[in-house]
Point group: C2
Amino acid sequence: MPTIADVAKLAGLSRTTVSRVINNHPYVTEEKRKLVQMAMKELGYVPNSSARSLRSQRTKTIAVLIPRIMNPFFSSLIEAMEMEATDRGYQLIVCQTHYSPQRELNYMKLLQTKQVDGVILASIQNEWDMLKPFLEYGPVVMCNEFEENVNVPVVKLNQLQGGYILTKYLLQQGHRKIAYCCGGYRSNVARYREKGFRKALSEYGISFDETLAFRNAYNIEDGRTVFREIASMSSKPSAVFSGGDEVAAGIISEAKRQGWRIPEDLAVAGFDNQEISKIIEPTITTVHQPVELIGTTAVNMLIKQIHSPVHTVDNREFPLELIERESTRGNAVIRV
Amino acid sequence: MPTIADVAKLAGLSRTTVSRVINNHPYVTEEKRKLVQMAMKELGYVPNSSARSLRSQRTKTIAVLIPRIMNPFFSSLIEAMEMEATDRGYQLIVCQTHYSPQRELNYMKLLQTKQVDGVILASIQNEWDMLKPFLEYGPVVMCNEFEENVNVPVVKLNQLQGGYILTKYLLQQGHRKIAYCCGGYRSNVARYREKGFRKALSEYGISFDETLAFRNAYNIEDGRTVFREIASMSSKPSAVFSGGDEVAAGIISEAKRQGWRIPEDLAVAGFDNQEISKIIEPTITTVHQPVELIGTTAVNMLIKQIHSPVHTVDNREFPLELIERESTRGNAVIRV
DNA sequence: CTGTTAGCGCGTTCAC
DNA sequence: GTGAACGCGCTAACAG
């Protein structure tokens, strides 16, 4: 492997000049620039990035923490982030916590060891006290998931509004007894979504019914289980608000197996507007989340922080949008 | 940020001794080891990984190239790889080529600049001549996608067998006119799958009919298009072999919209055994690919190469498995 | 405009 | 068992 010294020797110049050419510095004669470039090409020289990192204290690499990649929400988030990072000259390291606080802490150490220039937290598994100390080692940006009263830039979605519009829509459709599904017990995303759910209910004078809440629903299989529980209830809901399209799909699938009609016997609403919500029969009413938008925004906010470590905490929040489909439509009958 | 020198000073020892403790070297008194550990803790010392990389010529980082992460096949591949890499002390950089040869080459440069210790190619966009030169810069392992007559370790799936068993099954069900869908025009995965398809056909004395082939089908929307074309044919197939579950789902969905019955009017088989194949109605007959297995295997093969750059090219190939579901079952009528 | 010189933080021969 | 000294490859003063 040729080093900068080899190039310098071949070009008959100093290492400094070669370095200047590499980094597009001004104050290099066009003539010598050519000389250096030819030498680089002839030797097949490429700068060693460990050396550059050590010298410049910059790795041009960022890490993003998510629970797991198989969740389509996080796949699309990573997809968008990776593209944006690449466009801006950064590498992206994926870190799956699998909901483990310990793994999360281990990944945060990438910041201490200076393996990455910054971290995007798209999931939070530890109490903030555990995470806070890492802020001193480098910039951190929160994306989607967030922590309150914390001095960290965050790009998030208006979950309260999202929960509200979806619930209000169900109420307007005539539903008065609505089951509630969510996952992630200490997630602020889920918490605010629930606030929106409750707000809409209260506007109709309805109070939250904990016996209609399912708080551990993450995937299709969980959705099936939820349905079975609903089916076994003596006083059944006429609609379900599900915090995820997969869960909604599971509920629908199981309901149909057991001969229920959707939405006539049970209206089902999801969240995320994932592919599955468009292909299932009936198609699922859901809330669209601009995932690509928050992904690219988070990357850009982080890179900005990396370049100017001034603590200008500029938060961003984007609205959510209701997508009405078949799984809730046209069964507008008030059932008391 | 404290350095190794600070720790040495505080502990009243030399940098060498500190380094030995960090790297678990023998020949360090238990007493001094404690001393060093206390000093490290007191200062909150953490080794700088750029410096370690520069010195040891090891980054403990690997890159994996895929077309895009949103494809569930690649999400699960990355999920498995990331877990295995982490378990083995490596970081994983995701590289999405988006089917662009140029992007692929850019990512391969990570090997030249020594930003990564090795690369896993799970997708190939360039002619091999373009990729081959990079082998000299570090170990490369191919995973799933492959190139023939090339001296690179590869872990793959027996696509020929996969295509064969699925097609043979359709033939046994009585189908004689089977449409064929695939994506990826220069993929060996697709090529061998097609070989299996043709092999099964020929055993039944049927020749491949190019007018029944759709070679640009990747997603649900493409599946819908495929169906429309099939529906408009004068001489229609009784079954479809689709190279992906999404495409199969799109075909089914569109077919149902237009009032066709599946499998009675058209049997549809997919590939990959993805979630969607279990939830769609009818559920989709498909071929299960052990994605996690090839993911972890590829990571381990690469790490092995990194540790001992001996060119022992040990390839691995795993079998595929047919999963029979509703989308093809029970319409076993010979139609000529 | 260009070259000389000093480290960035660490691991590793060698001597002791 | 331990420490002094060198260099991994590069960039950034500082002179000139």
